[in-house]
């Protein structure tokens, strides 16, 4: 019997499992390199040459260049790694959270002040699909 990956049923969530970790290996290694001050300076001066050092796929590289925070997660990026790139851009976790969830940062901040995103109707893709069929 295989292991059940029931966590894939959680909506809007990219659990950093072995498959994603392999897929995003070089993307995450690039991001990780930015926690060395000297590397940050080199990257800022010539991003293209810096990125050439990391054998990402063209898709991954494009997502990095476009700062597509959600897209990076979908190709194996991990938030703790990609957030180092966001930090370099002067962004904080609310900026990135808003971008990933298709909200303005002001709306995202307000949602947090109001107690955060609710878990109701956010638990299960299967449950949500069944509910939308029923209405």
């Amino acid at each position: 019997m295989g292991l059940e990956k029931d966590y894939e049923d959680i909506p809007g969530t990219y659990v950093f499992n072995g498959k994603r970790c392999r897929e995003g290996y070089h993307l995450n290694k690039f991001c990780k390199s930015l926690d060395v001050a000297a590397n940050r300076e080199i990257f800022k001066k010539d991003p293209a040459a810096y990125l050439d050092q990391y054998p990402m796929t063209d898709e991954q590289r494009g997502l990095v260049e476009r700062r597509d925070w959600l897209g990076m997660l979908q190709v194996g990026g991990n938030i703790y790694y990609t957030f180092k790139l966001a930090t370099l851009d002067g962004l904080n976790m609310q900026d990135v959270g808003g971008a990933m969830s298709h909200m303005t940062v002001d709306d995202f901040r307000q949602m947090l002040l109001d107690g955060g995103r609710k878990v109701e109707n956010n638990r299960s893709k299967a449950e949500n699909a069944a509910n939308s069929k029923g209405t």
Partner: protein, 281 residues
């Protein structure tokens, strides 16, 4: 002999460290949280541990994707604050207790907890923010700290029950050390939060409150929570709460909850703090 006299459960939100470092603790946004830390700081100042065992997770700072260890015990004498991408926090170096930590590695591995051993590593906000929460801004941290890292970044994390049993093994490790030391163990991270994906910003105060209730009254029930249930109910990063179970497992069954504080939101997170005094004679 060394004894665990108390346990602290504490969120380790990076922006709490930044608020302290940048003098913002009295801003309207941060004041309620830091006011809530006040009684905990008073308790800590009275308790005066010799050593803290800090159960926390590294966030891709000391460790990276090349090698992923489930459990890592630090055995060094000196740990520098990590550069997480914006320069290291300007907080004191963290001093370990190499002899005690070396004893703990022997006790744990012979007790069949096959940990990895770090002779050198930097420590990130996961370790330094709880120190800020409990000690504010001293010139030097007032006690030694033994870092114990748990992988919670890469699935699969250790199970809740494994983390709880680890706490019991840590207690045996402490109690088999001959030196008279007062030890406080921290379990850090959480509480509910999700940093990633379209579900970013999830907070579940009901889950957090129940978790705190059961941490006191019925910790065994919490050891049965699966990975998927943690992530579904408390957010993908809420699974950090497994580390609170290591702290609770290291205490005896007879504990007294002496302080609790919970606040939403701190950055993207439900922030919790709980203190237990161990009543075992």
């Amino acid at each position: 002999m060394a004894r665990i006299i108390a346990g602290v459960g504490c969120s380790h939100i990076p922006s709490v460290g930044a608020a302290s470092d940048n003098g913002k603790t009295q801003d309207p946004y941060w004041k309620p949280l830091f006011d809530g830390y006040g009684p905990a700081r008073e308790w800590m100042a009275k308790t005066k541990p010799d050593v803290i065992i800090m159960v926390y997770n590294d966030h891709a700072n000391a460790f990276s994707v090349e090698l992923i260890n489930t459990f890592v015990l630090g055995v060094a004498d000196d740990y520098a604050p990590a550069d997480e991408g914006y320069g290291p926090r300007k907080v004191p170096h963290v001093y370990g207790d190499a002899d005690f930590a070396a004893h703990m590695t022997e006790s744990l591995v012979l007790d069949e907890f096959d940990i990895a051993i770090a002779n050198e590593m930097d420590v990130d906000h996961g370790l330094t923010v709880p120190l800020t929460v409990m000690f504010d801004q001293p010139d030097e941290w007032p006690c030694k700290v033994i870092p114990f890292c748990v992988n919670v970044v890469k699935y699969p994390q250790p199970t809740a029950n494994r983390c709880y049993q680890l706490g019991k093994a840590l207690r045996r490790a402490v109690e088999s050390y001959p030196e008279d030391l007062k030890v406080v163990i921290f379990g850090t991270g959480g509480m509910s939060h999700q940093l990633q994906g379209e579900r970013a910003g999830l907070i579940n105060a009901d889950f957090d409150t129940k978790f705190l209730d059961n941490l006191t009254a019925d910790p065994i029930s919490l050891t049965k929570i699966t990975h998927t249930e943690f992530m579904r109910e408390a957010g993908s990063e809420g699974i950090e709460l497994i580390m609170w179970l290591t702290m609770r497992g290291a205490l005896s069954d007879d504990v007294k909850e002496v302080y609790r504080y919970y606040h939403v939101p701190a950055s993207n997170t439900g922030a919790g703090l709980i203190i237990f005094e161990d009543q075992a004679k």
